[in-house]
Symmetry: C2
């Protein structure tokens, strides 16, 4: 795993987090170890544990506690991905087969449950009931968002529903990553809200950028079909902007009624969204959230870690270039 | 829900636990509330929260903490049942449709995950990192046991494998229920091991009795086909005793090799196990575990709650009469 520039201040700690996560399967059935290794081998940039470590180091959290906290956040994130991929029947993630592509449904469900239990165990290691409540509430928020997506898919075509969905899916975990450490140093009053706001902005922008890349990248680069969300009838930010500019588009009306589009109609719609100003408007919105996140850092201790948190926020939108 | 005799000392608290659990879906999607209510409406005797409440009251744990702890244990148990029933494709539990019989797989997985998150939230309410670790480890143990059952089904025909399996499946949660409270009153050294041993004995006996009833009851009374485990190729205590007395039984050799039996061979085998001394031997073993559990209570504070814990242990084997 090559470190990104903003990971430099915590690069060594990130290695410890990795080792901590892998050690969690010790003493359990070899298949759980294999599953955990497969999941961790498939990489990911570890942005969530990086946020935890930067915030923790900035605030002076003890080394081992920050490692456990970061490992707990990444473990919780990994657990949710296991069940997500199963539910969505995704076969690939980051260019590798998903667990559900490799194993049957029972083994995949149980592996996810095991990772939840290990996330809770790691979270308990930091010794704060409030941190545990944050973890539990974050998982509730994520699951609740997925339930809404399942049961109300065809009515999720307005901006508020989109914002709620990406908050639940992504920003809630970034909030957790950014603010959990403040509890451990008793600085909730001073730094709790700034760090929450940072996590919110970065997390919302992160998901918006993913949703933009889903439109603007080609299939080969994404490792999945382009505009995969729209193909599933799911309206994301670029489509929302296109819809605001073209409120009478018959194809989008079809999608809003829960009907599938024919492949050539869908392909034409995707091309038109790409050619419209919708992508650019969505980029500007993500950029604004990143600016808000960076502004929220004002007032936090001026340290290399704070600078790295700002760099990380920039990185989120740089993925668009 | 009619209280059993041993529940009398904590009957009012059990009502509070019920209300506490139902309140956990407030603020989330209505479908999660509906699911939680459906699960709680389907009853169950609430033996696990009863153990928590009796142990907590005996040790003088503060009222609200004992309610949260009991609700957390029952919520964790309920969450595991949701995923279990999905994995086993069970259609009925306690004479009612399971969640997976009502909803699709994604909604069932997510409801289970939601209940895990709420169990963690309730567990965090008691404010002890050690209790949280116990919860997390218990879930790891349960899941690990299920993984073993899936991946090694055909080699699970010896006594040690059976004991490990029912420990993971049932006794680990009873241990948690019995001993979590000691941490909250700083009495781990004096009372930790006796209460663990009590939970172990009651939990092991509880599962053995379930396994015996699976053989000795008729299908109507069970709400599922008799000897359902053996039909799935799963060897439980009565079959183990039968196997010890008849080591060369060709039908059991078939099962041990992972082969299915023909229906008339299976029916004959079930009849022979029922007619043999195997059921009686299994009953004696469960009885011994209950006696051990009651003996473990020696040395704990002499209170009505301690007496009720002993009664509860008796109740576990009384279900056989």
């Amino acid at each position: 795993m090559t470190a990104l520039a903003f990971q430099t201040p915590v690069q060594e700690l990130l290695g410890d987090v990795e080792a901590r996560m892998r050690a969690q399967a010790e003493g359990y059935h070899p298949i759980l170890k294999e599953a955990l290794n497969q999941l961790l081998d498939s990489g990911g940039k570890r942005v969530r544990p990086t946020v935890v470590l930067l915030a923790s180091s900035m605030l002076g959290v003890e080394r081992q506690l920050s490692i456990d906290l970061a490992a707990a956040v990444e473990m919780l994130h990994t657990a949710t991905l296991v069940h997500d991929d199963l539910i969505d029947e995704s076969q690939m993630r980051r260019g590798r087969p998903t667990l559900n592509a490799t194993w049957n449904t029972p083994a995949t469900i149980l592996t996810g449950d095991f990772l939840f239990s290990q996330a809770a165990w790691l979270g308990a290691q930091v010794g704060s009931a409030e941190v545990m409540r944050m973890f539990a509430s974050t998982l509730s928020t994520i699951v609740n968002g997925e339930i809404i997506q399942i049961f109300e898919r065809n009515s999720l075509t307005n901006r508020q529903a989109y914002m709620n969905r990406i908050y639940a899916k992504t920003a809630s975990m970034f909030e957790l990553a950014a603010r959990a450490a403040v509890v451990l140093v008793g600085k909730k009053r001073e730094y709790g809200e700034p760090l929450r706001a940072y996590g919110y902005g970065v997390g919302m922008a992160f998901q918006m950028v993913d949703d933009i890349l889903d439109f603007s990248s080609d299939a080969e680069h994404l490792g999945k079909p382009a505009a995969s969300d729209l193909r599933l009838g799911l309206v994301t930010l670029p489509t929302l902007y296109y819809l605001e500019a073209n409120p009478d588009d018959a194809r989008l009306k079809q999608l809003q009624m829960g009907n599938k589009l024919q492949e050539d109609d869908l392909a034409a719609l995707i091309d038109e969204i790409r050619a419209s100003g919708a992508i650019q408007s969505a980029k500007l919105e993500a950029r604004q959230l990143v600016d808000d996140a960076i502004a929220a850092l004002e007032g936090l201790p001026i340290t290399p870690e704070r600078a790295a948190l700002a760099e990380m926020a920039e990185y989120v939108v740089e993925r668009l270039h």
